[in-house]
């Protein structure tokens, strides 16, 4: 089949970008979307043009590298599917597609469809962990974990950090990503002791990074390739509220410690 692609081209973070049109010929329905772009790129190189930069690595929906908007929907909008898992059999001959990078000031464009998502790493660094240094762990079975909690934690831990939630959110909020980590760690007994500070620190960091504020629209949940649920955002709000109301001034915590 043959497709027309409108792709955002931008040389680097400081130069302006624009949409450009390309023809993708000889597209097989068995190709993945990225393989289709590979072919377009090979043609561009042969023609002496700069190939379209897009991020990818595992190509099986787990590393979270890939991701851009296809026709106004993050990852193309197929349930639980990243761009790299999307196959061309979902498209038709003659389709015209719009391909754009994630748009958020916290995700500046690096080149073409590649954006800088390091803000996510800094949100995790602010508190998205359990403070346990190597060697200090008790036996794995020392603390039983309710199966349901382990399963719920796993559901939330499935987040791949792709950024689609931010991209789809009309507010460019990082609530689903942040909520997923807070929910994951907060549902395990090991993570409970730190859950309040974790929420405070991660939420503050997300604010510093320039993400917008969640107004519970739910586009994030609909386009998240890992099915992370809005419930995680409620948990984030809950922990953040509890933490805010019970936070002690620094002097008091120091004397208690």
């Amino acid at each position: 089949m043959k497709l027309t692609l409108n792709v955002w081209r931008q040389k680097n973070a400081s130069s302006p970008g624009r949409m450009e049109r390309y023809e993708a010929r000889n597209v097989s329905e068995h190709m993945s979307f990225l393989e289709m772009l590979d072919v377009v790129n090979e043609d561009l190189i042969a023609a002496g043009q700069d190939p379209i930069a897009f991020e990818h690595d595992c190509r099986e929906g787990i590393c979270g590298s890939c991701g851009f908007m296809i026709d106004g929907v993050a990852h193309g909008g197929f349930k639980n599917t990243t761009v790299c898992q999307l196959h061309m059999r979902h498209f038709h001959d003659g389709d015209e597609l719009w391909i754009e990078p994630w748009r958020a000031s916290a995700f500046p464009v690096v080149k073409d469809l590649v954006v800088d998502r390091s803000a996510f790493d800094r949100i995790i660094a602010a508190g998205g962990y359990i403070s346990v240094s190597t060697g200090s762990a008790p036996d794995g079975n020392a603390i039983p974990v309710r199966k349901l909690d382990a399963d719920l934690a796993m559901d939330a831990a499935a987040c791949i950090g792709c950024g689609a939630c931010v991209a789809s959110c009309p507010n460019a909020a990082a609530a689903l990503f942040t909520g997923a980590k807070i929910f994951h760690l907060g549902h395990l007994p090991q993570g409970v002791p730190e859950s309040r500070e974790r929420a405070l620190r991660m939420v503050r960091q997300a604010n510093l990074e320039g993400f917008g504020n969640c107004t519970n629209i739910g586009e994030c949940e609909a386009t998240c390739p890992k099915g992370i649920r809005l419930e995680t955002i409620a948990k984030l709000n809950r922990d953040f509220l509890m933490a805010s109301w019970t936070e002690r001034p620094p002097a008091e915590t120091a004397s208690a410690a």
């Binding site: 990225l34 929906g61 979270g64 998205g128 036996d139 199966k147």
Partner: protein, 637 residues
């Protein structure tokens, strides 16, 4: 320089404890004076960087992805082994050790493997404490599943995403150290050379993948944890970015390479669909717990699977290996699949596929249980092939998956260059000639959390390291070399893209150095690769410039290294005149087609040393001794 593996003496159970006691320690106050570079943020790299940061060292960690969380370890599905014996089914450290040595077809070092089995227990504890959401029983205890090559149930798992969850655990520990200022993280940074000063590893040269800037980083010790090189075959289950560049450049600087030809072909992958295909997708081995593998008994049987009656199906693994059946080790299962396809009994396009059928399990356990166990894998399969495996059996075929070979390291995980440590899949590893399922994750985390943090301290405490900085002539020369190479790649301005060379190299490797190898084919492949390399350097077309994000240039550099490594692999495979594990030489097989080891001549690690650009590499041998597990013909019948 002769090889000294520094294997401790004494009873195997106490060797690691004894070593740990004898290791020199770095005074806590002095740790922050040492700079350590960790290249790679996969399970091995992230766990090492986090742990070294916790200990107080000054760590710099780099990866080529945009975030350390995306290292290829994220893709591991099935699980991680540990000798916990929570199932009370007779597991023990010794049994895990035994299974791993046997599974590796007696080509691994006993002491290392024993340590791995010992440490495995602490890994699970550590990961649970970090919040890794392992599968649980209703009572709240950890659940296990079984994996190929073992008769006990010792694999811990987090749904079908064990690697992801373990990596996120290590990544979070790493981010915690980054926040604490103990680790500096450099994402989107590729190591392109190793700086060796006075025979010791003292730094690396990197390229900033966004700006193209070439930088020098100096350190007191360098850790490589850059993963495997399966992508030399172009199509593999590895991530697209996985590469050999870091270890290959270290090899060219003097680090010896162990067993380059030992490659694992995984039996259960989704078959290739077309030429444009960019990678192959693994279907976790855990599927073999409940799926039965079969092909039609008749050649060229084109009926749809549901039209083929039970009596006309050949459940060949169950038939040939009754005691392990569908859970036979990977090398054996892969070869068996190749054999039935070569007999013309393969299914699907091109006859390159076998069925993995869940019909029996679904009728026995119900669709719900199967969905709970493998739901996400079934989804992956359906997404790629458009077929529903709850109704139609999966079609699978073997694909390159893991490289047991890698930089040679001693018991301390140090390479032949002092101060250069190699962890995870990048080293020649504890898996001998074949890795058992769920053991790579175990090894990566063992190396990173529990081995290198000790042994690197000993190196730092027992060596007097001169102060050196970027201005050192060796550092400057290395930097210049990289700048020149980059310029050269861009200047060729030929006709062929790096990807096209890569694809062609991959085909040569798969055909001649893949599941079955022979002397003639390997010799031909060596020559063909040399030609291809020549063409590469005269007819390559790389678009764009050096000073920008240039994915094409990155690929070209990696392919250049694959074109050298591929030849070494063929060479190594040619000289190892025996079959063992994943290395199957057609000339050396038992009458019933099993691998025929030659312990007389080849009970050793082949250790290769670089001699210069146009000289053949030198081969040395590290003899392997087996005091605890007697080498026998590996039998899974």
């Amino acid at each position: 320089m002769s090889l000294n593996a520094r294997i401790p003496s004494g009873p195997i159970e106490s060797r690691w404890d004894k070593t740990k006691f004898e290791l020199k320690l770095v005074n806590p106050a002095n740790k922050r004076k040492f700079n350590i570079l960790v290249v790679g943020s996969g399970l091995a790299g992230a766990s090492a960087a986090a742990t070294l940061g916790e200990l107080g060292y000054n760590v710099k960690c780099l990866c080529f992805q945009d975030s350390p969380r995306r290292a290829h370890s994220i893709a591991a599905q099935g699980g991680i082994n540990a000798a916990k014996n929570y199932q009370n089914d007779g597991d023990s450290v010794f049994r895990l050790f035994y299974d791993t040595v046997k599974g590796g077809d007696f080509r691994a070092r006993e002491s290392n493997v024993y340590r791995l089995a010992q440490v495995s227990v602490s890994i699970i504890d550590q990961c649970v404490a970090q919040g890794v959401p392992f599968a649980r029983e209703y009572g709240g205890t950890l659940a296990n599943r079984s994996f190929g090559g073992a008769q006990v149930s010792r694999t811990f798992y987090a749904r079908g995403q064990t690697g992801q969850q373990l990596l996120l655990g290590a990544y979070q520990a790493l981010e915690r150290q980054i926040d604490a200022g103990k680790v500096a993280m450099l994402p989107r940074t590729e190591m392109l050379d190793l700086i060796v000063i006075d025979g010791k590893a003292r730094g690396i040269v990197t390229r900033n993948l966004v700006t193209g800037k070439i930088d020098i980083h100096m350190a007191d010790a360098v850790i490589l944890a850059t993963g495997g090189y399966g992508n030399v075959f172009y199509l593999s289950t590895n991530a697209k970015g996985s590469n050999a560049t870091a270890i290959w450049r270290a090899y060219r600087r003097g680090a010896a390479f162990g067993n380059p030809c030992f490659t694992q072909i995984h039996p259960t992958c989704i078959p290739q669909a077309g030429d444009y295909q960019s990678k192959l997708t693994l279907m976790s081995e855990s599927l073999r717990n409940d799926g039965r593998i079969w092909v039609p008994k008749k050649q060229g049987d084109t009926r749809s699977p549901d039209q083929i009656p039970e009596a006309e199906r050949d459940y060949y693994l169950e038939r040939m290996y009754p005691s392990f059946g569908n859970l036979s080790p990977r090398d054996i299962a892969s070869r068996a699949a190749k054999r039935v396809c070569d007999e013309g009994r393969g299914v699907g396009p091109g006859g390159l596929g076998v069925y993995l059928d869940f019909a029996d399990s679904i009728s026995r356990l119900g669709e719900k249980t199967i969905a709970e166990r493998y739901g996400n894998l079934f989804e992956i399969y359906e997404r790629i092939t458009g077929e529903n495996p709850y109704q139609v059996p999966m079609r699978i075929y073997p694909a390159v998956h893991y490289t047991m070979g890698g930089l040679w390291v001693d018991y301390h995980l140090m390479s032949t260059i002092p101060g250069l440590f190699v962890l995870g899949e990048a080293n020649f590893s504890d898996h001998g000639a074949n890795r058992l399922g769920a053991s790579a994750l175990m090894q990566g985390l063992s190396d990173g959390y529990f081995v290198v943090p000790y042994t690197i301290g000993d190196y730092l405490a027992s060596n007097k390291l001169e102060k050196v900085d970027e201005s050192h002539p060796e550092a400057q020369a290395a930097k210049r070399g990289i700048q020149e190479q980059t310029a050269r790649l861009l200047e060729i301005k030929g006709k062929r893209t790096a990807a096209s060379f890569h694809r062609e190299l991959g085909k040569v490797m798969w055909d001649q150095c893949g599941m079955a190898r022979n002397a003639q084919g390997l010799e031909w492949a060596s020559e063909r690769i040399a030609e291809l390399r020549e063409e590469f350097w005269s007819n390559l077309n790389v678009s764009g410039e050096a000073g920008e994000l240039n994915q094409n240039l990155e690929l070209a550099g990696r392919v250049a290294d694959f074109l050298e490594l591929g030849e070494l692999m063929c060479h190594d495979a040619r000289i190892r005149e025996e079959s063992c594990g994943g290395h199957f030489r057609e000339e050396y097989q038992t009458p019933d087609g099993e691998a025929q080891r030659d312990d007389e001549r080849f009970s050793h690690v082949a250790v290769w040393r670089y001699q210069g650009p146009d000289k053949p590499p030198a081969r040395e041998e590290e003899q392997l001794t087996f005091e605890y597990v007697k080498p026998v013909q590996r039998s899974y019948k």
